[in-house]
Assembly symmetry: C2
């Protein structure tokens, strides 16, 4: 049983420490969402609500847009059960935004507007849950706040299914999409193997990762050895060579009876041109924007005539909370919690990181890195994680990836479907008379 | 605690009943596989191994092809643990085949060859696990066996993700793909809702069902009411009207901020032409066979300019044992078990069916129907299950579908991945010197 809250009151102020006036906190989600970004929100919010340094907790409706337009959600108005349920609810419960603040020189007004809103709502802590771009924004906000005489503690909360943030061993969001892709690859490969004798011989699964092949690499966890699927992985990090690829497909079908291919959406030719931009056109001659999977499947058909199937997982892969990695959920919560703990200690312009202590058994802890070191940088799959032939993962890569998909963290179900939560989203009363038009 | 097996032995032969010489049984998987066809295999095999009327259990390697080429798998050589694990393993563990036997008139030799192999291996029971076509084959085998003086008891075991077999309330395999589609729709829709303010406004998920819209209908379980996703379902049963569709998309984006669309691969114009065959071409002008999802997404882009994403679930949906419906797994096992129980009672040329006793609470039992009534017939989604506007499901449809996705039946995991079983697949020694070339 928890200690009655009223006894905490008197004690709190009797402690002989520097008395700070509690400030409000602002949390926002940014960029493409994931299966566990709300678990980070849960970590931030539960920790902030318990902190004596933080008064009220606000969230941006649709991320930073909510701050610019003074459309804040009053998180204190949500029930404890709702906040707890965020841990098992995918996507961005508060709304996210693909909105990159321009450089300070180009659009100083945006930053000044943010500070205006933060000042009006007495916000002293800014938690920005996103990827590379967002870390850059959080850094700039901390700088402009100081220069405008409104110092604000800005802590980034890492999130990206692409796993491409530097200075952290992995990124919350990645482990769950990795598990989804590994599981789906194993399952679909069993299907193809069943049918290959008389039907489909080649199967292509397209996965996310425009610039880094981490998600594609995760597909490699589905099998061991050259004879087990996936037989081919196409990484953005390895220039696509059509002839070598088609020869490998033929060899796989000859040797094993079928061929399972994981294709990163970022698979590209040596000149950097994406396979997906091969210029397919509809019946009217209009360019059709589309996946890499059908492009590859057509190549195979034209070269070999094999019957094929292809799948494009798209948003399914990054929202698949039903098959989330337990490790990923725990890490997502932990970075949210750590962000608040760092902020209330006065640590500014940092991002909590995940530090690997050992792989087998897997042990990790939380560290932190300066935002300046993280912002706008990308971590690609290193060459030693990609097999010499460029079509698979190495043992080192498996050792890195395997712990990240470990454990299951099933959501509760009702009527056969996951019981995901929706926030009430009560707006905070506006204090400014000024409007801001988001361009 | 189970009764010790040794006491069963003596008792068995002391019963005063007609003594029949045990025969061998042959089991084969047919057509597209599912997440639970192996659960039916498990039901057939476990029941057959326990039956005193059945001697050995054989399976066709790659379905009926295995019978024609005398490539039989000795199921008795598999461990009890392997057989048990089939219940949680997707796809066709013995290999399936897309191979429809021709009519008796066109290719009598195929049927005679089957009887030749069955006679050589003393097979008295034929269990054929498949859809409409397979029930037709099983019926013909029973007829030709009798006419050739080698009577064989043929029982079909229903399996089709398409849910289009008549005389059964539902088809094993469907409940799990329905659950996959409903769960994925709910999850992806949360993703789109998070992003719609600044990014993707329209999301299209393509699902299976070339002629019947049952799988597409299952997507409708993800939400309630017009304002909840999916906002539009495209059924094969409803002629596609581009103008009405585009107007509904615009309305959904205007009213709710986004639009989630479930498109059956069988969505077609009034003249029967599939949307997927719209004739998209690659850069070289070659026809590109492809999904309906990119075709629809392009329509939306050209009409409205909305940012869109699309996914094609393809084999992922029908192999997704990790999110199987518990009801589906139980029914798949039950029809396999019932098939054997019927056969050893001498009931010939039938298929066990699932009989619904009530929807709320859901109660069902096993019945059976003559193969002649099932073969080559298709059950489409009735009009009263489709909303008047053609874009959604009715309350009656929800009442029908909801019990079929009820309950979870998670497979065991190892190293973060489902621990699916592989059979040893020991071949039965050939007895025939004749070869058979499958055309």
């Amino acid at each position: 049983m928890a200690q009655p809250a009223r006894t905490a009151g008197p004690l709190r102020y009797s402690l002989p420490m520097k008395k700070t006036t509690p400030k409000n906190a602002f949390y926002a989600q940014s960029g493409g969402v994931s299966a566990v970004i709300n678990a980070s929100a849960c970590g931030v919010i539960e920790t902030a609500l318990r902190s004596r340094h933080i008064n009220r907790v606000y969230a941006g409706r649709h991320g930073i847009i909510g701050a610019l337009t003074e459309d804040l959600i009053d998180v204190n108005r949500e029930s404890a059960a709702t906040i707890r349920a965020l841990r098992h609810t995918p996507a961005g419960a508060f709304g996210s935004a693909r909105f990159k603040l321009k450089g300070l020189e180009q659009n100083r007004a945006e930053y000044e507007r943010l500070i205006e809103v933060f000042r009006a709502h007495d916000i002293g802590y800014f938690f920005y849950n996103g990827g590379n771009d967002s870390m850059d924004t959080a850094l700039k906000v901390s700088q402009i706040g100081a220069s405008l005489g409104f110092p604000i503690t800005c802590v980034g909360v890492p999130k990206t299914v692409d796993n491409d943030l530097p200075h952290t061993d992995c990124c919350p969001g990645f482990g769950s999409v990795a598990k989804y892709v590994a599981v789906s690859t194993r399952e679909a490969a069993l299907d193809v193997a069943s049918m290959a004798r008389t039907s489909t011989k080649v199967f292509v699964l397209e996965v996310m990762g425009r610039h880094a092949g981490w998600i594609a690499a995760a597909g490699g966890l589905a099998g061991h050895g050259l004879d087990e699927p996936p037989h081919i992985i196409l990484f953005p990090e390895v220039a696509f060579d059509g002839q070598r690829f088609l020869e490998r497909v033929r060899q796989s079908v000859t040797d094993y009876g079928y061929c399972v291919i994981i294709a990163s959406e970022g698979a590209a030719y040596a000149d950097g041109k994406f396979l997906a931009d091969a210029g397919t056109r509809d019946a009217f001659g209009h360019t059709q924007l589309g996946g890499v999977a059908p492009v590859i499947a057509n190549m195979v058909r034209e070269a070999h005539g094999y019957k094929y199937h292809w799948a494009v997982a798209d948003y399914l892969q990054r929202s698949a909370r039903h098959i989330a990695s337990r490790v990923d959920v725990e890490q997502a919560y932990a970075v949210g919690k750590a962000a608040v703990e760092l902020a209330v200690k006065g640590v500014n312009a940092v991002m909590p990181t995940i530090v690997r202590k050992s792989s087998r058994p897997y042990r990790w802890t939380i560290g932190h890195a300066p935002l300046a070191a993280v912002a706008n940088k990308e971590k690609k799959v290193p060459r030693e994680y990609i097999r010499a032939d460029g079509f698979g993962i190495t043992a080192a890569c498996r050792r890195y990836l395997e712990p990240l998909i470990a454990g299951e963290a099933y959501p509760p179900y009702r009527d056969g479907l996951p019981d995901y939560v929706r926030i009430k989203g009560v707006p905070v009363r506006r204090k400014l008379t000024t409007q801001y038009q988001v361009k």
